[in-house]
């Protein structure tokens, strides 16, 4: 289970004290710690790629529930959006994963260790039997990290799903009433008119709100470190801080340069997102009874 020591990428980097200039920089930028920094960019992108669809799913569910004529469901959908939107993200991020983690461990404890007589809560300690721990304390480090990552995705999805639910709820109401009436006149059931008429048309109304949410989600990843997931902002701060002679590569406070690098990354991500969202808007406006759809129709005549 021992992790092989991340060795220097080039043989010439074996003794950094003797290097200077460009060769020092080349070795510095390829140190094991920097590799972890570069990998963190992948972590962030992966988180975004998983969280966005999951949050959208939560949002869609929330919006459908809030529209439901079955009142307990409607109440649930409304309570979800109202409560989650009203609680500060940071509180949510500290509460949900810890509560979830302890809740799951408690359930596993009930199942796996029925003979356990001592209390689970002792003062401030939360103690379950070793077999109920999740992940097991014997699990490899990557299992612990994946578990933390999964909790993070869930917390993000719950928070952003609530906002998305409100956006989608509004978008569903924005689809012209005449469209639904026409569908009903053709003999469609409410379920059919919802899936065939309302849902395909609502996205164009939801897009501005959803694109805002996406932009906020991109920038929210530093919250990850609260859950022990090391993201790019954590590494930039750690690498940029001044390093004394005890490190292989001592240097003064370079946080400015690292944060500049992050700035470029985030701006580039924003630019790409805008381009993609622009294309999606054009595609979704096609044939729609909106201003954009109408001008598209005229342009092709």
């Amino acid at each position: 289970m021992s992790v092989p020591a991340a060795s220097a990428m080039f043989a010439s980097c074996a003794d950094p004290g003797t290097l200077d200039g460009l060769s020092w920089l080349a070795c510095y930028l390829t140190s094991g710690k920097h590799m972890a920094f570069y990998a963190a960019f992948g972590t962030v992108l992966l988180l975004l790629a998983i969280t966005a669809p999951v949050a959208l799913l939560f949002g869609f569910g929330g919006a459908m529930a809030a529209r439901s004529r079955f009142w307990p469901l409607q109440w649930l959908g409304r309570a979800y959006t109202a409560m989650v939107r009203g609680v500060p993200d940071i509180v949510f991020f500290l509460f949900v994963p810890i509560a979830l983690d302890q809740g799951i461990e408690w359930l596993r404890h009930q199942v796996k260790c029925p003979d356990w007589t001592e209390p689970v809560r002792r003062g401030s300690d939360f103690v379950v039997c070793a077999e109920a721990k999740l992940p097991l304390s014997t699990s490899a480090q990557w299992v612990h990290e994946s578990y933390g990552f999964a909790l993070a995705v869930l917390a993000f999805a719950v928070v952003f799903g609530a906002f998305a639910a409100n956006v989608l709820y509004g978008a569903m109401r924005a689809v012209p009433r005449a469209q639904i009436e026409t569908a009903e006149a053709y003999g469609m059931t409410p379920r059919q008119s919802f899936w065939r008429i309302l849902v395909p048309q609502m996205w164009v109304y939801a897009l501005p709100g959803l694109s805002n949410l996406w932009m906020i989600l991109i920038k929210a990843t530093p919250l990850l470190f609260l859950l022990g997931v090391e993201d790019i902002v954590y590494w930039a701060r750690e690498l940029g801080g001044s390093k004394t002679q005890i490190y292989d590569y001592p240097h003064p406070d370079w946080r400015l340069y690292y944060f500049l690098g992050l700035l470029v990354f985030y701006l580039a991500l924003t630019r790409v997102s805008e381009a993609v969202l622009g294309r999606v808007t054009v595609r979704l406006s096609r044939g729609q009874a909106t201003l954009a759809g109408e001008s598209q129709r005229k342009a092709t005549q």
């Binding site: 289970m1 992790v3 020591a5 991340a6 060795s7 950094p16 140190s31 094991g32 710690k33 590799m35 972890a36 810890i98 983690d101 302890q102 461990e105 002792r122 003062g123 401030s124 300690d125 939360f126 103690v127 379950v128 721990k133 304390s137 014997t138 699990s139 490899a140 480090q141 612990h144 470190f225 609260l226 022990g228 701060r237 750690e238 801080g241 001044s242 004394t244 002679q245 005890i246 490190y247 292989d248 590569y249 406070d253 946080r255």
Partner: protein
């Protein structure tokens, strides 16, 4: 595919072996050189890394290192995310109410102020300290304005860029910082805390007993003092000096 199967088998095997032994997860901050820091390979390094590995070897435990933010280092211990804290944590009555400490492995060392000039006002000026440390509490008691930061590195940076007049921290942490040449020690050293120890859950006395025995054996054969001198220099306070003791 073969690689995958092999990897899974190796994992299963190592997990099986680990189960037989008992894995102790050690939580540290990784931002407080020379006590603990993340080295350029991205691994936990420093005095406490060497000490922790030696203690685990003597207590015949399999240990694994985990890093955690200083702010949430005690909450994550009591909720069971790791089994011990080894992060340059001074033994204080306030912390002792929540966790159990091992006996000290570093004798009560002084804290010190460092600043960029000799005439820095440490009594009435702005003093930087890390949040939730004994030094931060001390600044409040002196009447100076406390400027708190989540990491030790930021407290030093605040002095360098003029945001704070001085920084207070464990002297062992500041010695290499001052050695860089642009800062000096100011004022008298301040004796704070009752030494540095490992922290355990109060419901985990077995682990504490094992580690205490290992610390005692390292004190007895002098290896602990050698380790302290290696990481903190020859002037560092060691066990057996006049001030040393629990």
């Amino acid at each position: 595919m073969n690689k995958l199967i092999l990897g899974t088998a190796a994992l299963a095997l190592s997990a099986g072996m680990a189960l037989a032994q008992d894995v102790v997860r050690l939580g540290t901050e990784g931002a407080y050189p020379p006590y603990n820091f993340i080295n350029d390979n991205g691994e936990v390094d420093g005095f406490e890394r060497e000490l922790g590995d030696e203690l685990c070897a003597r207590a015949e435990l399999t240990c694994e290192w985990v890093t955690n933010d200083w702010d949430s280092i005690i909450p994550n211990l009591v909720s069971g995310n790791y089994d011990a804290i080894i992060a340059g944590m001074s033994i204080t009555p306030e912390r002792d109410a929540v966790v159990d400490f091992s006996e000290a492995y570093v004798p009560p060392t002084p804290s010190a102020y460092a600043a960029t000039s000799e005439d820095a006002d440490i009594e009435g000026g702005v003093v930087a300290a890390q949040t939730g440390t004994i030094q931060a509490n001390h600044v409040v008691d002196t009447g100076a304005t406390l400027l708190e930061f989540p990491t030790p590195d930021e407290t030093v940076a605040a002095v360098r860029n003029g945001e704070a007049d001085a920084v207070i921290a464990d002297k062992d942490f500041l010695v290499p910082v001052v050695a860089e040449g642009d800062m000096i020690f100011v004022g008298e050293d301040v004796p704070l805390g009752n030494g540095i120890g490992m922290a355990f859950r109060e419901s985990d006395p077995d682990l504490k007993t094992k580690v205490d025995a290992a610390i005692q054996s390292m004190k007895a054969d002098g290896t602990l003092n050698d380790m302290i001198r290696k990481w903190f220099g020859d002037e560092a306070l060691v066990w057996g000096d006049a001030e040393g003791g629990n």
